[in-house]
Amino acid sequence: MKIKLNIWKQENGKTKGKFEKYELDGVDAEMSFLEMLDYLNEKLITEGKEPVAYEHDCHEAICGCCSLYINGHPHGPGKETATCQVHMRSFKDGETITVEPWRAKSFPVLKDLMTDRNAFDKLMSAGGFVSIDAGQAPDANANLVGKIDADKAFDAAACIGCGACVAACKNSSATLFVAAKVSQLALLPQGKIEAKRRALNMVAKMDELGFGSCTNTGACEAECPKGIGIDFIAKLNREYLCASFSEAE
């Protein structure tokens, strides 16, 4: 296949970026999207040109590194698909493909298609954990967890921290990410003890870090590569409200 690429190029966080056009011949439909970019980069380098910087590591939709905004969608075409799972067979011969980084105030661009998603780590530090030291744990079967709760908690815990939800949201809200963590831990007996504190602290941190608020557009759910549902946002809202009331008491 032959394709045309329209790729965001930006030297670093201080400079302004712009779209750069590339034409690429000899693309194999079986290539993954990232392999196509590698192919482009190898070509650019040997021609003495600047390659395109982008993030990737596992190529298995689990590390959350890859984060490309392809043709107006975080992670490109396909439902519940991370960028690294997109294959060139999803595009037509001769098609023009536009590739951008995540666009969100809290995820500043570092270079080309790379952004700084450190804000997610900060959110996790604000409460995305259970306070227990190594060596203090009771027997894992001492807390029985029903299969349904365990499975539901797993569904929430499947979040890969990619940030597509933020990139998809017109408010750049991180609510789905926070909701997933808060819900996972609130569903399990071992996480319930700190549930209130966790919900309050993570939500407060989200505001502090400049993420927007949630207006229930559902764009996050539609683009999430792991199918994290907005029902978890409802759960977060309940946890948060309940925590705010008891805090006020």
Partner: protein, 639 residues
Amino acid sequence: MSKLDAKIPEGPLAEKWAKYKATQKLVSPNNRKKLDIIVVGTGIAGSPAAASLAEMGYNVKVFCFQDSARRAHSVAAQGGINASRNNKNDGDSVYRLFYDMIKGGDYRAREANVYRAAQVSSNIIDQLTAQGVPFAREYGGTLANRTFGGVQVSRTNYAQGQTGQQVLLGGYSALKRQVSLGKATMFPRQQMLDIVVIDGKARGIITRNLITGEIERHAAHAVVLATGGYGTIYYLSTLAVQSNGSAAMAAFRKGAFFGNPSFIQIHPTCIPVLNEYQSKLTLMSESLRNDGRIWVPKAEGDKRKASEIPDEERDYFLERRYPAFGNLVPRDVASRAAKERCDNGFGVGKTGLAVFLDFRDAVAKQGKKVIKGKYGNLFDMYEKITGEVPYETPMMIYPAGHYTMGGLWVDYNLQTTIPGLFAIGEANFSEHGANRLGASALMQGAGDGYFIAPYTVSNYLADEISNKVPSTDSPEFVEAENEAKAVLDKFLSIKGTQTATSFHKRLGQIMWTHSGMQRNEEGLKKALVEIADLKKEFWSDLIIPGTANEINQELEKASRVADFIDLATLIVNDALNRKESCGAHFREESRTEGGEAMRIDDEYSFVAAWEYQGADKEPKLHKEDLKFENVEVKVRSYK
């Protein structure tokens, strides 16, 4: 320094660790805040180690090259994590797990370490559960278990096919908690370039800030390497594309011995190579072999669709050759059996380099829903990559480089031959001997991190209380930084015509051909020549765009590839030296009449620990003799 002392505590096997803990040196809580520890790596070994040491009160600095600790490649582990909890009442015990690992590793691991790993396995599941890891549960609420290859009990805990992600996030969240408490400080997007050794002790590291390009110096009282495996030496492997052997090689060059470098596991069930630009191979978890049956057509070159081949014309070759374990033989055995069929013309798919992994019978017996519950995400992953639906057509799989049993040599303290430098997780030469059993890497890494390193590092630090952290202006730091910079400048100054990736691909090809699933003297010697040629070409024709003072992914790649080239030589030398077959190391010259691997215990019952002698000089071999006092050394049979 060069004498190998594994420092195994005296006494009966089952009491060694308890005795160690009861008599080790301690650091009082008051003194811990005066001591700094560097942990490089945030996988299932590094994150728990960093969190646990910080919980104790030490000041911990944590490094990784990804933008977040949560992205370490442990996140990709799929199938599960072992623990000898005997949850199924099926005869499991610490001894049984220990025995399975020793046997699975083909009697090339150290008894005392393996036993300890089995002893702490149960606590890991408790700890992870307490952190909120949603392990699979039965309807009654108890932990669910599955079976992995090479064993006859059900001891594997799992969270669908994303166990690695879930257990890593447990460790990561513990680490984030310590960050919030100010006891741990994160240094993401840093590539460790060198270890700083002062007066014979590890005292710090040199890193490159991957955003600014700045070279940084970091000092501490001890350094823990948890930098993972180097399976990416084959270029195509199940590891992440940035996984590397550079930290281990830096330690090696500074005097840490490298243990059994040639012991590399080739995983039998991976999606085969689909195109020449492929950058990575995807694992299909071993757990699939619980329900999937592996076969090829009985007739050579049979190109019919799987569904058109009747049962009597199928060769379920694992069930045929190994009736006792069937599809659940250990990985090395399964990989070689698949290769044997394909080499003889029975392979399937476009290239003939694949075998079927078929779920037809399982779906018929258990129903699609049950199979989906067990493997849904793996089936989806397979479908996304290949466009085929495994509920309907069998998967096609082929072996790929996966796990490195070899790594930095460590003693019972998990300390390398450089005092103050520890290696944990896949980065050390580990408890897996010549072959690792499924679901035991997460177990070993987490065990090292949560329950072993906190004790052994403390034991070391007890003698460091009165020593201040060295100044980063000391000559050793300055020298290490200058050397690191010189190497980067060298890469940039070559201005040749070939990319780092192109060299990596060629290196991978050499290693896969001559030092992969099957090895022989002639091929290995050829590999040495080819690697030397490639090295020359690399250092004279590499091209890197840009500069060292900015984000430069090509520069990062080049430094990884340069280290891989040296590591490849080390691997091949080790493989040449070990003229026996054992576990994953299959020397064609050493096999039984039935074609199985044949150990030569009289000559090779040792850990090969290699000592660096200078650039382009042959490393020196040291041997740690292995003594088996608690198991009978037998021919490993899964028939």
